[in-house]
Amino acid sequence: MRRRVVPAAFLAVAALAALAGCGSDAGSGGKTEITFWDTNAGPSRTPIWQHAIAEFERANPTIKVKYVGIPIAQAPQKLDTAIAGGGVPDVADVSTSGLANLVAQKALDPVDDRISKNPALTGKFNEALLTTVRNVVPDGKTYIVPLSTNAGAFWYRKDWFKEAGLEPPKTWSEFFTVVDKLTKPSENRFGFTIRGGAGSIAQMLEVVYGQSGITEFFDAAGKATINDPRNVTALEKYAGLYKKNTPEADLQNDYVKMVAQFDTAGSIAVMQHNLGSYQDHIKALGPDKVASFSVPKSDSGTQAVLSNPVGGVGVFSAGENKEAAFKLAEFFASKDIDGYIADKTGVIPANTDVQGTQAAHIVEAQRVLNDPATKVVQMPYHLPEFNEITKTWAEPLFQKVLLGELTAKDFLDQLAAKLTEAQAGYKERHG
């Protein structure tokens, strides 16, 4: 009997030891180990985070950070699954576009106290960015340490514009004219590429509100403005580009396919995205062939741009090493590291101590955002249903609009009804 008990006990102890090794705090060599999820991993961003983590570990030799890269398309699902089933990271990069959903699930710890007690960060963040971070959650607390923000950008082929004697468009009328002139399907050249697949709605909204010059997403009564007749006309013009000035394949375009057409295939004159794709374009085409212009002005002269998500890092409530996790989040937001991340990813840093980069696309984006005449249309990232409405529900219907199977008006009427209902529910729950 004793012979059987001893091996069994040994196995049990070994199994417990092995299981204990799965925890995030069972660091090697007495170090505290924490996990960081990069929710937009890829060849251009992963090395940037890895460098920042290496710097952190050098500055904090008792903490080891395990980097986990997750492609952006899978990130919301992985986070939700981890929150529901356990296994959340200690820290993750989180943007305001997904923040309301995480906070609704009580997944993150507020960082207000940490920021206020850290002299290196107190008063160092761009106020507009902090306001955006606080506005997307009902309790007005800060749930991410902000790192950067983005801006809509239209990347264009400088060489093609020069060849055709064209200037980057300043208004939407000029935009449609330029796109038309650069379209030569018989030569495999298209003036524009529409994002018709995953992620299409944010880009569509930017074009629609940019053209109409409408500056509020909801009116005073809480009704969505997306189906305003001026927006309907704007969508009709935008959808009219499909197959006339764009490849047929655009119907299924996500970011990867869109950027492959622009950078690798070299068949596109203008590609709408944001500042974040800078590195991809420069690597593929080089600085002589590519540049960006900002969202054109409406024909009435209004420059309306969409509020872009603020990127940052959040600390998870279920994490077991909060102190180390907060340290990592604060380190990423420090002047040097935030400046490094913003510079390498081509976005606008949140830390105001960071010396401004002289890259032309950042200078232009900051000019537009700092211009008092610019109207920023605040996207309703505070609605937890916003992602579901704009992705699962709206993306296939937008494809129907491109195919001519659904009118722009019907689509926007339905979208407005969904958004108005979500906003009313939000008001009811939070006052």
Partner: protein, 282 residues
Amino acid sequence: MLIAPSLIAMLGFLVYPMGSVIYYSLQHYNVAKPWDNGFAGLENFRTLLFEDPLFWQSLGFSVRWVVVEVVLQLLLGLALALIVNESFVGRALSRALVFSPWAVSGVLTTAIWVLLYNPFTGMSRYLADMGLMEYGAAPLANPDTVFWAAVLAELWRGVPFFAILLLADLQSVSKDLYEAAAVDGASRMRRFLHITLPHLRDAIILSTLLRSVWEFNNVDLLYTLTGGGPAHQTTTLPLYVAQQAAQSHNFGYATALTTVAFLILTFFSIVYLRLSKFGAKS
């Protein structure tokens, strides 16, 4: 005691997951809307049956997908099995080539076909260079071609399944039967209809049933090839479930859809086996 391990395994791997699915199908459970979570009764089922056109559309597409795929895979797989069952020089290499797509993973198969269909690097680019197509044409983005483009990709992967199974069964047919029929003056077609086909009967019934269930539940190829698009045109019922669960986080509704799909497949399997008289002596 002897059956305890089997019983525990069944409880753990069959009863618990199925019970869990049925439990959540009776709940409102959406992680993005925690304020709405709670007992739903049969509301999820009422919604999918009477208020959700996408349920019926995806179910209809699933049936069309299964019928077209299984019939074409069976016919082509049978033809290939008959060919590589003959004696000829290079038979071993031919068999290896016929079976090789089966060894390729679903996602890799999709990657191959995505590249082939890519308008800038794939077949259509070369056809456009030759003036046979317009530049930028994309079979997967065109509602008129997307179905058959996806069918072709799945056929490439699925035909070897039938070819392997049917070839294995063909090799057990006694040569004496063919010789006797030939002596009696039976043509090649008559030998196929009266000897080969009856012999393959049970293998065909079983393989078509397995493949039907497999194709009905197919998610990987369509998810990565078309994402169910454009405009839901290639959304099967399991793909719709995946979208509801993974994208909308609406797990309550997704499990109700799963329960209905499970019932449909169970009913289909029972009826199919009954009608086909699987295992009965011909």
